[in-house]
Amino acid sequence: MKILLAALFAVVTLTATAHAGLPTDQIKATIDKAQLVLRDPRLKPAAKLAERREQLKQVLSGRFNFAEMAKRSLGPAWSRRTAQEQEEFVRLFTEVLERAYADIIESYIEEKILYMTEKIDGGYADVGSKIVTNKGEEYTISYRAQLVGNEWKVYDVVAENISLVNNYRSQFNRVIAKTSYEELVRRLKDKNEFAGAPKK
């Protein structure tokens, strides 16, 4: 009986380790690091907010490919822009993401994150995770990643079946179709300045 249990245990642990492959490990490592930054008591005070966000950004930017996110979010309009414009757009888009998600990410300090599924298909991977909040609510979040060299870089985050890239792409395309790319850039700049002012 004991042998049977041991064998069963071995099988379970083996499948568990085999199940968590490279993309999940890399994404988990980054998210864990981000949580460490958030939990760091030295960075807790409100005065250290800017420093904390800077560290957070550095941790996340190693794993999350913001340039690719920006490119995918802009869609067909991307190839019509010059290299300089593309660079500016990536910067603006990253700022927008920061403003939109910093508060949300910071509220996830104590949450439990479970990594559920992983699917690799050629150079692409889909890692499914679940966030369990302190109140016991569950949210599914999956990361879409692309293999760049040896690193899996996340290019889309799908929260509760809503893709971040698709959400921004439809918004950006609507603005561009109604007005122009220049107007979109102006609006993004406005948003960053406006949102940035009261927080600092």
Binding site: A77, R169, N173
Partner: protein
């Protein structure tokens, strides 16, 4: 002599009528007689509830193909899309199942991407987006989120 002429005319008329009916039947039934045109891509969705084979595939409201088949692949819905020949999909297009109006007909909306790579015929659309299930969301609000609230208590007791 006159009789034969009328007979021939009636014969031609009937033949034309049957051809027209046949054509209509093929068009309305969306059958294909002379082999399929265009090329095929597949896409996996978490859910395609309400979609039927034959429903259109659209970019910005313009039909560029149709849903040819729907099968189940590892708990996901795998759509086979037949697309018109001139249409090219970049590697990062996003396909989503949408409805016209709140309860209207379903269709597959494709939003063009920014990649230089084109998905080859027979390839797969990697990015798909399944709409959140409205009854599911309403259920969570009306009935309460049973799955999660209960778990939390159990967890704390276990610890």
């Amino acid at each position: 002599m006159n009789h034969t002429r009328t007979d021939i005319l009636v014969g031609i008329f009937v033949l034309v009528g049957i051809t027209c009916l046949g054509y209509l039947a093929i068009r309305l039934g969306k059958l294909e007689l002379f082999g399929s045109q265009g090329y095929v891509l597949t896409a996996d969705f978490a859910s395609v509830a309400g979609l039927k084979p034959g429903d259109p595939v659209e970019i910005a409201g313009v039909k560029v193909g149709r849903v040819e088949a729907m099968t189940l692949a590892e708990d996901k819905a795998r759509l086979t899309l037949r697309l018109n020949d001139g249409v090219k999909f970049q590697e990062d297009v996003i396909a989503s199942v949408r409805a016209r109006g709140l309860i209207g007909d379903k269709f597959v909306l494709v939003s063009p991407g920014a990649s230089d790579k084109i998905i080859p015929p027979g390839g797969k659309i990697r990015e798909t987006d399944s709409q959140p299930d409205i009854p599911d969301l309403i259920g969570k609000i009306v009935g309460g989120d049973l799955t999660s609230k209960g778990d939390k208590k159990d967890d704390s007791q276990k610890k």
